[in-house]
């Protein structure tokens, strides 16, 4: 039995906040809510939730900024709740460090599925480790070290690295990665993968702009290379 996920919901609209809280609570989550980004950041520090569901359109500091501020210190999963599925919002959201996004009006079931998928990414499954050059992936401790230093990876980044490291040298398509990491059953947004790869490269590569570990395979997807 997994423990009850503890969520922080940051949403300014009263009706939406109440309704989502009601729905998520019924799905078996423990939910605290905040009506603004500032309140949300405060609650994050005080209550240490497992996951944040974050509305993009907030009064004061907006969802993207909240996301960026959280990422400075914490690697907990963030799911963006975007009212506009305008592509620019999605992209900015993913760049500011969100793990996944859902588009309003969202169905409670979809949001629940995403939450559970994100939560599962942090679960350990095997007890071995792998080394790729200066990068060491410890699957039992769920930690990644580079040159002996711990890397702060979000669960999504970690899972992406794990999936790639399980098939070293083999290219995985974006759609495959979406299924494996995000558990999007089909037709996921490939930009999730691209954005996450960019963030992961920024953390694991020596020179993120010319990656040697996580390589792009044109026309296919990505693969993790074992350095010579």
């Amino acid at each position: 039995m997994a423990r009850v996920p503890f969520l922080l919901l940051i949403e300014d609209d009263d009706a939406v906040r109440t309704a989502l809280e009601m729905g998520l609570t019924r799905q078996g989550h423990r939910v605290v809510t905040a009506a603004s980004g500032e309140d949300g950041l405060k609650l994050l520090r005080e209550q240490r939730p497992d996951l944040i569901v974050l509305d993009v359109m907030l009064p004061g500091i907006d969802g993207f900024e909240v996301c960026r501020r959280i990422r400075r210190t914490d690697q907990l999963p963030i799911i963006l709740l975007t009212a506009r599925s305008d592509d620019i919002d999605v992209v900015v959201g993913l760049e500011s460090g969100a793990d996944d996004y859902v588009v309003k009006p969202v169905q409670g079931r979809v949001l629940d599925a995403r939450i559970r998928a994100v939560m599962r990414r942090g679960e350990r499954e095997s007890n071995d480790s792998a080394t790729f050059g200066s990068l060491v992936i410890d699957r039992s401790a769920m930690t990644v070290t580079k040159n002996g230093e711990d890397l702060q990876l979000t669960p999504t980044e970690l899972r992406l690295l794990l999936e790639l490291s399980r098939r070293p040298g083999q290219a995985l398509s974006r759609q495959q990665l979406l299924r494996l990491v995000w558990e999007h059953d089909y037709l996921g947004d490939s930009r999730l993968v691209d954005a996450c790869v960019q963030r992961l490269r920024a953390k694991v590569e020596d020179v993120p702009s010319s990656p040697t570990l996580i390589r792009t395979v044109r026309g296919v997807g990505y693969r993790l290379d074992v350095p010579q």
């Binding site: 009706a15 019924r26 009212a83 305008d86 759609q175 037709l187 702009s209 040697t212 792009t216 044109r218």
Partner: protein
């Protein structure tokens, strides 16, 4: 203009055919006018001159000759010898007029004697017979005609040289001598020739001058015309701020001013229209956006209600069921409305990925639990560069529509085809053809052209079943954004049902790049930032590629 019945119209059309440019036409017309003027002026001058010169020379000679005849031939004795006649002729020829004389008379021996001042050059054979006849002809003397014989003359050519031949018979008791003169008109001819030459040269100079003038005129007329043409082309390309510099007050300046006014009012009109269109688009976008927040709350609560349905009062349960289903419908409608506004605003973007088309179709069918109702005919391994979400939207709408109106089984087939017009970038010439065929009654012919219209209802009385009325139009927009197309037609005779054919380029990258470079103005609406994920990812892809080799 071309089909104008007037001869003028036809003429100018033919002229335009032969002389394609205005410059050429101007030059030719100027040249023709100059040529006509110069030639007629020269011609008239030449003829007048020629007449004057010849008449003067003629008159002088003939008067002189007449006088000489009276003085010499008239005084000859009745009976004279050929020798005397010759002397008389020689005497006559010594005149200042420089002509030769031939005298004929009956000599004393009764024979006719013809003597010339210079018998080598002038014989009776040189005198045309009709002149001889005219000279010899005797007229009756009356009030009008005082003399029985007249002086006659004629211009002839001997051995290529022009001569004046004149003849007269001395009036008196018969027999009287007859005299002829032969005067060379060579000097006059030379004078006239040199005059003709000068006139010809003058004509040629006038012609050249006219053509140069025409060139200059054409240039001054055509430069503004070309400027006007350039400006009109720029205007046509959408640069509505194009204006011409107006200088002067001539017709072309007037035309430029008219052009500027037209461009200004066009610019204003377009600005007004696009402002109005933008505001109405913004209204729809804002409206559907505003609908989303309450829809989110309602949707979330509706699910709670749905789960609690069994526990509800049987009287209330149907009401709850209705709310749940209608909420879902409203949700779809808002969703579709948002999609449509994104297309209208030009903010829709392609998120391309390499996908296996058969997998995508299967996933689409599977996700909607349509596996039993759809027969799929697709080979695995057909890879394409497209936006999987948009392909899913297209397929879901086409298959959903087929199931709703045509009934199962719906047949879906996936093929690739070489495009004939394929100006091929690598692999870009290939086309993906997906056909969705249903088993229904087909689409009435009058409805066929409208199936992709928004909110189109086949008949006003027929209630629209579930579905927003936007599905097929959204499918079409999604095909267009890929550079593809959807067509609808009924299956050929012997088969039932409607067939929707989706054609997409197998590699939509080029289309996506064109869109990104091409719709800069559309991005104005797409507000802040403007960071472009696809572009970035692609750029880094390229770099990786190079690094990897």
């Amino acid at each position: 203009m071309t089909d104008a019945p007037s001869t003028g119209g036809r003429l100018s059309t033919r002229l335009a055919g032969v002389l394609p440019t205005l410059r050429l036409r101007l030059v030719v017309v100027f040249a023709l006018v100059a040529l006509t003027a110069a030639v007629s002026a020269s011609g008239i001058a030449y003829w007048l001159n020629r007449d004057a010169v010849l008449t003067r020379a003629q008159n002088a000679s003939l008067n002189d000759f007449r006088k000489a005849m009276e003085d010499n031939a008239g005084n000859l004795p009745r009976k004279l010898s050929c020798q005397e006649l010759r002397e008389a002729a020689a005497k006559m020829a010594r005149s200042s007029q420089n002509y030769q004389v031939l005298l004929i008379d009956r000599a004393e021996d009764g024979k006719t004697c013809a003597t010339a001042s210079n018998e080598d050059d002038f014989t009776l054979a040189d005198v045309p017979p009709q002149l001889r006849k005219a000279v010899a002809k005797k007229r009756t003397v009356d009030e009008k005609n005082k003399h029985p014989y007249h002086l006659y003359w004629q211009r002839i050519t001997l051995d290529g040289d022009p001569y004046l031949v004149g003849g007269a018979k001395v009036v008196g008791d018969e027999p009287t001598p007859t005299g002829y003169l032969l005067k060379s008109l060579g000097p006059e001819r030379d004078d006239l020739n040199s005059l003709a030459w000068s006139l010809g040269i003058a004509t040629a100079l006038a012609l050249i001058g006219a053509m140069l003038l025409a060139q200059a005129a054409a240039t001054t007329v055509l430069r503004p015309v070309r400027r006007l043409g350039d400006a009109a082309r720029r205007l046509g390309e959408g640069k509505l701020e194009t204006r011409l510099r107006v200088s002067g007050t001539d017709e072309l300046a007037q035309l430029s001013r008219t052009f500027n006014d037209a461009a200004a009012s066009l610019e204003q009109r377009v600005a007004e229209l696009s402002a109005r269109e933008a505001s109405s688009r913004r209204f729809v976008a804002d409206m559907s956006h505003e609908l989303r927040t309450p829809m989110t709350a309602i949707s979330a609560v509706t699910e709670v209600l749905e789960e609690e349905q069994e526990n509800l009062d049987p009287m209330i349960a149907p009401a709850v069921q209705l709310v749940v289903s209608e909420t879902r419908r409203l949700n779809d409608l808002v969703e579709n409305l948002m999609e449509v506004t994104r297309f209208d605003a030009g903010t829709a973007k392609l998120v391309l990925d390499d996908v296996d088309v058969a997998d995508q179709v299967t996933a689409c069918i599977d996700a909607r639990a349509w596996l039993d109702a759809v027969e799929l005919d697709a080979d695995r391994g057909i890879m394409a560069q497209l936006d999987p979400r948009r392909l899913d939207v297209i397929l879901a709408n086409l298959i959903g529509n087929a199931l709703k109106h045509g009934g199962s089984p719906v047949r879906v087939s996936v093929r690739t085809r070489r495009r004939e017009d394929g100006a091929g970038v690598a692999g870009g010439g290939d086309e993906l053809v997906i056909e969705v065929a249903d088993q229904g009654p087909g689409i009435p012919e009058d409805v066929l052209p409208h199936v992709f219209d928004r909110f189109y209802k086949a008949s006003a009385s027929r209630p629209r079943s579930e579905g927003s009325g936007l599905g097929l139009s959204i499918a079409m927009e999604n095909a267009h954004i890929h550079g593809g197309e959807i067509t609808a037609h009924n299956a050929p005779d012997g088969e039932r049902g409607a067939v929707f054919t989706l054609r997409l380029p197998r590699d939509a990258r080029r289309i996506a790049e064109e869109r990104e470079s091409g719709d800069g103005h559309a991005d104005e609406h797409a507000d802040e930032g403007g960071s472009d994920p696809g572009g970035d990812a692609r750029r880094s892809d390229g770099r990786d590629q190079e690094g990897g080799r």
